[in-house]
Each structure stands twice: as structure tokens, then as C-alpha cells.
Amino acid sequence: MSSAMIDRILDAVIDTFYLVICSGVIGIVLGIMMGVALYVTRENRIMALPALNRVISLIVNVGRSVPFIILMLALAPFTRWLVGSYIGTTAALVPLSIAAIPFVARLVEGALNEVPHGLIEAAESMGATPWQIITRVLLPEARGGLITAATITIIALIGYSAMAGAIGAGGLGAVAYNYGYSRYNPMVMLVTVLIMVVMVQGVQMLGDFLVHRSRHR
């Protein structure tokens, strides 16, 4: 491999990190908010609003049922309106973040469902407000599940970002497509695949470590 190619790959790694980290942060923060909303508005919950719950649930299901590659194309006009272009690394952040939100929301809802109902009752018996129950009981008690959700999301985003890269977002996907595939350079293909495997592995190990540390048992 030429040193120019090595530079290209290093740049691509940085682009991929940028894509995954930025869309991950946006997706996870908004996804947690949406997941909490899904959880608390359900019937018999602390802010029961069944009608609103059904609406949120529908949005989440639609968001999750559209394949990422289609979502990205479908969002192109919106992306252009938002960031001025639908091609490029920053433009790719829009569909990546939007794809992550419903994905995170469902995982977060699942993690919150694992919190024993008795804890919420105990908090209510102490006179906690719904907001206090969310911030002092639900989220801290679901910490392990939330970290797992974040791990799964980041790993999914590494895959999505490569897909986005193949159609103009830059990053490792672009390198693999332009040099490994179109110009048939098996070495480049192999290296990009290996780098992605290492990234996924690293994220998984970090996630497992954090989950382990958050469990007090």
C-alpha cells in the first residue's frame, strides 16, 4: 500500500469516528428522551397519556421499519434544507442521528421496563414528583441497561456510517467502496474490514466494562 493510501485510510478512520460519535451522542440523548416518554406515558404509568403514547410508539415503529439506506435517501431534501447539502460527512449526520433515535428509544423503554415497579411506588410514597422519579429512580436504576443500549447503538452506527460512506459521506465505507471495490484493491478492502472489526470489538468491550462497573451486586 502506498503512503498516500495509508493517509487516506487514516483520514477515513477520523471521519468515521466523527460520524459515529456525533450521531451517537445526538441519537442517544434524543433517544433516551423519547424512550422515557414512551415509558412514562403508557397506561397506569407515572404520566399516563395513552393517546400520546400510541402516537410516539407509531413514530418509533415507522422509524425502525425503514431500512437505513432508504431513510437516508428519503431524508435527502430535509438534510439539504437543514445543512445546505445532502452529500458529505456532515450531511450524513442527519440521517444517522435520525435513524438512531427510534432505535435507542425502544432499547431504553426495554431497560426501564426492567426497573421493579416497587421502586416507583416507594418513590411515590415519599412524595416524589414524576420528574424526580425519572431522574433519581428510573434512569439510575436502569443504568446497566442504558449502557447496553448505547453500546448496541454505537455498533449499529458504525455499520450505518459505512453504508452512508458508500454514497458520499466519506469515512471507511467510502474508502472500501472507492478503492477496495471499484478499483479492486483487496488489500484496502481487508484493512478497512479489519479496522471496523477492531472498532466494534473495542466498543463492545468498553460497554461490557462500563455495565459491569455499574452493577453493584
Partner: protein, 347 residues
């Protein structure tokens, strides 16, 4: 301190509706401990959860410390709940917080300054004997320790009343006894009013001043504990008591009773002594004055809140006149008698 007025709670609607509480009236005096006892499904949990409105009564009014909770809006109800502690069968501690963190939670919710919270936690650790485990996580604690943490947490905001939902039902007998002692201690030291629910008579006997028996969602009998254990007013009360005292005839005796000797057999009598013990004097008296021969088959003496309760099953061997006279004499002494059946004479 706590008063329920005509509280009814219906779950569901139409044909499938379940009336879990029927027109319940209950008053818990300030500084006293009241136990609500009943079998599983009788409505105990529903009743105690109606006191702090975790469960809203379908009808009726709830008062705590002269405040009608059923008339409050959400915000005022939350404030009122700061004055009512609650502990649970399964402790309900936050696994993500240490013992200290759990105890401090109610004060964080009120917005107490950190320094005051820490000081209060120290006092409560002392009171509940948890100082050594202050920084442990609940997962590392025994059931008894977890319930102590829950008690400390419930007391953090200086409540006037404490609700205990089957607080000892998940604990072994020794731990149960230690927790009950702690509750009694807190009740006496802090003058805290306690309402507890349980299916165990032992719990009522150990710490309660007043007992209310719930059956099918209705309170069938409310009485001072000493009275309830010595003279329950209702059939349900008697059943509960007999079950607890286990002075039911043994299997061997039941066999002999069914073998009969109806016409000429010897009566087997269950005697209940209230407020006095089964004195040997009385036995001697019956034998010497009436010429009655007593064969004691089973006996038990209990001390309940300073009052004695004696139970005995005995064969009354003698002529019918003698037996009738002896029974009449026992009745004048306020000893309750119940003929369980007849058995063949021994010899």
C-alpha cells in the same frame, strides 16, 4: 392520627368488578400501633395503600394527622406524603445507591441541604444499627439489614406515621423478631404512629396495641390486642385465634373422638382461660370438690400484652351430674368450655 371513613375500593367495572375494600372504617390513635390482619386476598394491601393514596378509594375519605388526603390536589398530596413513611415486604431499595444514598433519598426529594442530609443519615444509621454498613450496596445486605435501611429511609423526613406493608413476611423468624423490636422501639422513642398489615398473628401479638381483622374486604372486628386474643367477638376472630394457638385436637385425639363411645363415653372438653393461668389449684379444686377426674391431653399458656391466655383440652371423667356441676363452676370463674366429643373410658 390515621382515620379511614367508609372507604370502598372497587377494581374494574361491570361484571368483572372486584370489591377489594367494603366500607372500611378504621381509626389509629396517635402513638399507637395498629395491625390489620387477614388471609391472603382479604384486601390488606389495598387498605394500607389507600392510606397514602397509592391506591385511590372509589368512595370514602382518608385522614392523616387531621388532614383529609382525599381532598388534596397532587402537589398538596406529595407534601402530605413527606409526613407518612412506608416500608414494604420486598424492601424496594435502590440497587444503584449505597445504604447512605438510600436513606438520604427522601430528603433529597424535599430539597434538604446536603449537610443536613448527611447529619440526618448519621442519626438514622445509629438508630437502626447500620453504622457499619453505611457504604454498602443493598445487594450485599441480608434481608433484615435491607429492611432496616428501608425503615431508616422511611423515617428520614421525620414522618408522623409509618405504614408497613407485610414488612416482615419475607424474613425468617429471628430476623422478624429483631425488626419488630426495632419498630416497637421507634414507636416508643419517637412516638411514631404505626399501621401495619400482616397475615401473621405473631406479629400482632408481639407489637400491636390494636388489631383489626379484615375478611373479604370488610373489617369484621376491631379490638385492643389483649381483648382480641382472649375473647374474639366474631367467628372469624375465633378461627384466626385457634389457628394461631394451634390448640386444635391432635390427630390421635380426633381418631379417638371419631371412634366415639357416644352414649357412655367420656366428654373431651376444650377450656379457655382468660386473664388467669391454668392453676394447679383449680385442677385440684375440681378433683377434690366435685370428685371429677381430669386427664389433661393438650395445654398451652400464652402471655399477650401482659394478659394470660390458657388453653387446655382434657377428658372429664365422672358422673354426668358431677361434670355438669364442674362446668357450671368453671363458668362462674369465666372459663369457657366447649365439648369436642366423647371418647371411650380409658381403663
Amino acid at each position: 392520627m390515621i382515620r379511614l371513613e367508609n372507604v370502598t375500593r372497587v377494581y374494574g367495572q361491570g361484571a368483572g368488578a372486584v370489591t377489594a375494600l367494603k366500607d372500611v372504617n378504621l381509626e389509629v390513635a396517635p402513638g399507637s400501633i395498629t395491625g390489620v390482619i387477614g388471609v391472603s386476598g382479604a384486601g390488606k394491601s389495598t387498605l394500607i395503600r389507600c392510606v397514602n393514596l397509592l391506591e385511590r378509594p372509589t368512595r370514602g375519605r382518608v385522614f392523616v394527622a387531621d388532614q383529609e388526603l382525599t381532598a388534596l390536589n397532587k402537589e398538596a398530596l406529595r407534601k402530605a406524603r413527606h409526613g407518612i413513611g412506608m416500608i414494604f415486604q420486598h424492601f424496594n431499595l435502590l440497587e444503584s445507591r449505597t445504604v447512605r444514598g438510600n436513606i438520604g433519598l427522601p430528603l433529597e426529594l424535599i430539597g434538604t441541604p446536603r449537610r443536613d442530609i448527611d447529619q440526618r443519615i448519621d442519626e438514622l444509621l445509629e438508630l437502626t444499627g447500620l453504622a457499619e454498613r453505611a457504604n454498602a450496596y443493598p445487594a450485599a445486605l441480608s434481608g433484615g439489614q435491607k429492611q432496616r435501611v428501608a425503615i431508616a429511609r422511611a423515617l428520614a423526613s421525620n414522618p408522623k406515621a409509618l405504614l408497613c406493608d407485610e414488612a416482615t413476611s419475607a424474613l425468617d423468624p429471628q430476623t422478624t423478631s429483631a425488626i419488630l423490636t426495632l419498630l416497637r422501639d421507634i414507636n416508643q422513642r419517637l412516638g411514631l404512629t404505626i399501621l401495619l398489615i400482616t397475615h401473621e398473628m405473631e406479629v400482632v401479638r408481639t407489637i400491636c396495641d390494636q388489631v383489626a381483622l379484615i375478611s373479604g374486604g370488610a373489617l369484621v372486628e376491631t379490638a385492643p390486642v389483649g381483648d382480641f386474643f382472649t375473647r374474639p367477638a366474631t367467628e372469624e376472630g375465633r378461627l384466626f385465634l385457634n389457628d394461631f394457638l394451634q390448640l386444635a385436637p391432635s390427630n390421635a385425639l380426633l381418631q379417638r373422638l371419631s371412634d366415639g363411645g357416644a352414649g357412655n363415653g367420656v366428654p373431651v372438653v376444650r377450656l379457655t382461660f382468660r386473664g388467669q393461668s391454668l392453676s394447679s389449684e383449680l385442677m385440684t379444686h375440681l378433683e377434690q370438690r366435685f370428685g371429677l377426674r381430669l386427664h389433661i391431653l393438650q395445654a398451652r399458656v400464652e402471655n399477650i400484652q401482659g394478659r394470660t391466655l390458657g388453653l387446655m383440652i382434657a377428658e372429664f371423667d365422672g358422673d354426668r351430674d358431677i361434670i355438669d356441676d364442674a362446668m357450671a363452676h368453671l363458668h362462674t370463674l369465666d372459663v369457657q368450655t366447649e365439648v369436642l366429643g366423647h371418647v371411650q373410658r380409658h381403663d
